[in-house]
């Protein structure tokens, strides 16, 4: 393998790792932090729902779907930049 190829691969992996870290951070907030404070969030309301309840039955779920979509868009961008597109 050529040296510049190896270097491109390293940068590709660094970016991939960073993106994954950011995605997992958001995931952690909506899968663990928000349910933990559901009681406090219930003080607010959204679309007629108590906010804490809303997150557990719809909000977090929809955010998980969106997270995967965003992750894939970001990852495709990184792959394309490094000539790894398919």
């Amino acid at each position: 393998m050529q040296p510049e190829q190896t270097q491109s691969r390293q940068i590709h992996w660094q970016k991939t790792r960073f993106l994954t870290f950011v995605i997992l951070l958001v995931w952690f907030v909506f899968s663990c932090i928000v349910p933990w404070f559901a009681d406090d969030l219930n003080a607010y309301s959204f679309l007629g729902f108590q906010l804490g309840y809303y997150f557990l039955v719809q909000g977090s779920l929809a955010i998980f779907v969106a997270l995967i979509v965003l992750h894939n868009i970001g990852q495709n961008g990184i792959d394309d930049q490094h000539g790894s597109g398919q």
Binding site: T16, T20, I23, P35, A38, D39, N42, L56, V57, G85
Partner: protein, 611 residues
Amino acid sequence: MQNRELKTSGKSFIDNLGKIYGIYTVGFLCFFLLMATFEQMGAGPQFIGIMFLLFTIFIYAAIGWLSRTTHVDAYYVAGREVPPLYNGMATAADWMSGASFVALAGGIYFGGYPYLGFVIGWTGGYVLVNALLAPYLRKVGCYTVPDFIGTRYGGNLARFFAVVILVVASFTYVTAQINATGTIASRALGIPFGVGVWFGLLGILLCSMLGGMRGVTWTQVAQYIVLIIAYLVPVIWMSNVQGFGIIPHFGYGEAASRIADLEVQYGLLPAAGEAPVGGVRVLTTPHFDPQGGESAWKFVTLAICMMAGTASLPHILMRYFTTPSVRSARLSVGYSLFFIFLLYFTAPALATLTKLQLLDPSLPTALIGQSFDKVANLEWVQNWTNVGMLAVVDHNGDGILQLNEFFMRPDIVVLATPEIAGLPYVISGLVAAGGMAAAMSTADGLLLAIANALSHDLYYKIIDPKADTKVRLAVARVLLIVIGAAAAFIASLKLTGILGAVAWAFCFACSGLFFPLVLGIWWKRANRAGAIAGMIAGFVAGSWYLYMVYTGTMQPWFGIDHLRFGIIGMPVSLVAMVVVSLATKAPDAETQAMVDEIRDPTGQTILGQTH
């Protein structure tokens, strides 16, 4: 028409998938209308139930027959030609078990806030699958999950332990699914449960035995279509009949608040007296009342176990081996979660609206607070009472049904909703077909995961590496039958409840496999000794804790009960794996280069197309 296209198995079938499944969906809806017409003309519920079950199972079996194959890569990974959208549907069907379909809404109905941990866990897990595993495993090009462990860490010992954990986790899960098929078949066909279990197994094997992964993929897509229609139609219909809005999902916030008020008015008291039959219970948990503190801790620990378990369960991971490329594997995880989301965000709406209908005295469907004689003589109440799923007892003798005198089995909430809302029986038939589709598709995926691990990893890779294709596929098929029969036998003994067994499967999987899988990709320094230590230590620690807590030998630590023993297994696995890896020699240069290769989405798979 379908016949010819499937047989050629080449481009024409894949290109025409939209048309084929479009025709199939329209055909199913026509069948539904036909049954509705029959009901109008006076056909009995029994007849409609039988027709729904037999018709759908016949279709699945036909697809299974048309997908038969003699190629190893078609049998193990559907030839790696499944487009992401369809793989997403197949994964969703694979994922949503009888428990999700039949018991999820009932669980939310009775369980309140603590139970919602399952909802978050079973959806959030896909973020982990997508971020940490699916694309990388696709790049490896393995046939099974132990195949990855064996390739990355080398050596038969690591592969062997991965097979053991896979079998334990999947087998725990599959008995619950066959149990569910037996329950539905026995109720709809009017046969004993023991016979229903074997009938269910027969349907399952028809889908998977001849075509392996290819057969299972195309039947699972068909099963997803049936199950999602069967879940959404009753809820939306009920919502329209009862005036909760055209699409109920966005407007039931007030209904949830109203339930909270009614709970205060009636009081959530323990049962007023003995229940006349076992398994039924009264509503004692508030609809949504997170307390923070210990209940928040319990919620989060359960969610973590279910999420990590999702990312370690082989029947899910292996679905992403069937896509044409790494990028399409990722795309298909997105589709999977979307299709799962459709059901999971409907279940709480169903639970809320059904509960409100029973509780709210201003609605015509209300039971609580009504005259006892009127309720006891309702037809649907009598039907469910006769089969021991429901009970009303006037314990205080005041002639009024109180909230703590209304007993119900949690898993009938979905099945009884059409009757509670006064919908025609054809809807109940549809729901039965949907529940059957959900349980069958999951059982198929699990049986195949077990049989493939045993035939590919244990038999071919460890016992007889020179075996030729014919023998390998014969072994795979025989194992499928043997394991299916063993699971059906255990299911017919009715040892565990559906939900408990499912949660255990997730905990077994995440205790033993989560870190060896994830670190295999994300930590180059991880080596064979570390992986073996991680698998054994995590699995043994988790199982030991389950045994001690479940048998009552030991008090649970920090409220970690038998449903979330993965919280004990996972850290033990992580520590063992890291310590042992660091204490032993780093993997050789070749393995390290392979890890770099896995992280790069371009180029050839690590393992050959057929291996």
